[in-house]
């Protein structure tokens, strides 16, 4: 797997002709290599515009975007795009090509050998949870969730160091969306690429991102922080309102018990170490217990009390 890329937005501004307000206003953002960065905000926040500037589907007026230190405007357009995976909400699968041909598009553009291409197609289909036999099917024969899996496989085909995702799960039903969110997180851990992910759903942003950039109307960056920092310390009323209530509980949902310094010894009902702190708190209240025992199988790691949760906040 190729390494991930570092992306830098350096005072980037975009104005659409005939509109007073900027779409993206003086945006500066550093996304370290391998990060999962979510751009989130209300409509009119310029998040999709910011995303599409990276693969130059939308040109910007001033500033600079750098991938691994290179100004994207110095790279040939097609070369730039072939090196970036791109996933959109409507997926945009080519209806006249089979699933396999869709996934093989960029490898073929890059003139990979037939064998390498077909091996890669099968490898990718399995990676995104499809079967090798699906390669022969046409997009119209797939469900919405399957289509988006193919879209993801197609974007990953040439092993790009950067993945751009524009509300990829916006059109899916809640169950399929949740499943794909979980799998994408796993995939990100496994393949370690830089991901820029656009959504208008703050919960999705908090669940998916390890960095979140909140953009407000007029394309102004309101806050750029980790989910935990965002929930702990929203910079202003706009961000606080956009994030919504239950901030303390949602912060607890970001941590699992095995990340905490546990109290020694066994006390109360047993739970698994990968239980989120939020769920642990919920269990304590539900069971009217004083403490929970954190155990990995038979091995007791320690115990957890309600007071430990407030320590985290």
């Amino acid at each position: 797997m190729s390494s991930a890329a570092e992306i830098v937005f350096d005072r980037v501004t975009k104005r659409y002709p005939g509109r007073d307000e900027a779409a993206v206003d003086d945006l500066s953002l550093e996304i370290p290599a391998g990060a999962f960065c979510v751009l989130v905000g209300p409509s009119g926040g310029g998040k999709t515009t910011a995303l599409k500037m990276v693969n130059r589907l939308i040109p910007f007026d001033s500033g600079e975007i750098r991938i691994d230190g290179r100004d994207i405007r110095t790279l040939p357009l097609t070369e730039l795009r072939r090196g970036i995976g791109y996933v959109i909400q409507q997926v945009g699968l080519f209806p006249h090509m089979t699933v396999g041909d869709n996934v093989a598009t960029v490898p073929r553009l890059l003139r990979w050998s037939k064998r390498r291409t077909s091996e890669r197609v099968i490898e990718l289909l399995e990676l995104v949870g499809l079967e090798a036999a699906d390669a022969k099917r046409y997009p119209s024969q797939l469900s919405g969730g399957q289509r988006q899996r193919v879209g993801l496989a197609r974007a990953l085909a040439a092993d790009p160091p950067l993945l751009l995702m524009d509300e990829p799960f916006g059109a899916l039903d809640p169950i399929t969306r949740h499943r794909l969110q979980t799998e994408l997180r796993r995939l990100h851990r496994d393949v370690g690429k830089t991901v820029i992910f656009v959504t208008h759903d703050i919960d999705e942003a908090i669940q998916m991102g390890d960095r979140i950039a909140i953009l407000r109307e007029g394309g102004v960056l309101a806050q750029y922080a980790t989910p935990d920092a965002l929930l702990a310390d929203p910079v202003d009323d706009f961000v606080a309102q956009f994030i919504g209530g239950d901030r303390a509980l949602r912060r607890l949902a970001l941590r699992t018990l095995d990340e905490l310094p546990l109290r020694p010894g066994e006390s109360g009902p047993r739970v698994a170490p990968e239980t989120t702190v939020r769920n642990a708190v919920s269990l304590l209240l539900e069971l009217k217990a004083d403490a929970l025992t954190v155990a990995d199988g038979d091995r007791v790691l320690g115990s957890f009390r309600l007071a430990d949760a407030s320590e985290l906040l």
Binding site: N55, L57, L77, T78, E79, L80, R81, R82, G83, I84, Y86, I88, Q89, Q90, V91, G92, L93, F94, P95, H96, M97, T105, V106, L109, Y138, P139, S140, Q141, L142, S143, G151, R154, A155, L164
Partner: protein, 238 residues
């Protein structure tokens, strides 16, 4: 117009079926296949193939231009809609001062009609690629030409074939009117038969049946072609 020729059955000399002008005389069809019906059919095929071929050769690049430069479509579309309202029987005659009573005159008129059918169909086909599909292609680094050749043209195939179907069938139909100008095509035996004091039934039915059969056959052929060239359109939505 020339009313005498081998196609006029001699009521005094034919067999009983012909002299009695019965509903349909197979014998007459057999006897006059080589001198009347066969050549007329062949002329009709040639007439149609040339008209649709030239029409497509003109319509296709024009449609590519209109696809690239969208401002061109409106004037071209309006012009062709008006052209299509000119009745074929009039258009053939109106071209006579320019190109005479010739095969060329007939072909010019037929090419004009096919153009009117094919141009908007090809343009609509090229536009039928969904915007998200084109965006995905561009985002993946396909060049403009690659988007046209690999995405837009294949997706336009069904619409292009649909246009060809209408063009071919219409041309075969309008081609019979060419008999008002020239003694050619499947219209001519009908034209002649109608010119008899008592219209000769067999000749009308035989030539008419050949014209309709040719049209339906070509139509079916193009359906098969589309089926073969655009396999993704055969599938029902999952």
């Amino acid at each position: 117009m020339d009313g005498n020729g081998p196609v006029i059955p001699n009521f005094g000399q034919g067999d009983a079926c012909v002299t009695g002008d019965h509903t349909f005389c197979w014998g007459w069809v057999r006897d006059h296949w080589s001198d009347t019906l066969g050549p007329a059919l062949w002329q009709h095929v040639e007439l149609t193939a040339v008209a649709v071929g030239i029409g497509f050769a003109i319509a296709f690049p024009l449609a590519l231009l209109a696809h690239r430069f969208r401002k061109l479509e409106q004037p071209l579309g309006a012009f062709s809609a008006l052209l299509y309202t000119i009745p074929s029987i009039a258009l053939f005659q109106l071209l006579v001062p320019f190109t005479g009573i010739t095969w060329t005159t007939v072909e010019i008129a037929l090419v004009a009609y096919t153009l009117v059918i094919l141009f908007p169909n090809v343009v609509a086909g090229l536009r039928s690629a969904p915007p998200d599909v084109v965006e995905a292609a561009e985002g993946m680094g396909l060049t403009r030409l690659q988007v046209l050749l690999r995405i837009e043209l294949p997706l336009a195939l069904p619409a292009i074939v649909a246009g060809l179907r209408i063009a071919v069938v219409s041309t075969i139909s309008i081609g019979t009117i060419a008999a008002f100008l020239l003694p050619k095509g499947l219209g001519y035996p009908i034209f002649v038969a109608l010119g008899n004091p008592i219209p000769f039934k067999t000749e009308i039915y035989a030539a008419g049946g050949l014209a309709v059969g040719l049209a339906l056959l070509c139509d079916a052929g193009l359906v098969v072609l589309r089926w073969a060239l655009a396999p993704w359109t055969r599938l029902a939505r999952a």
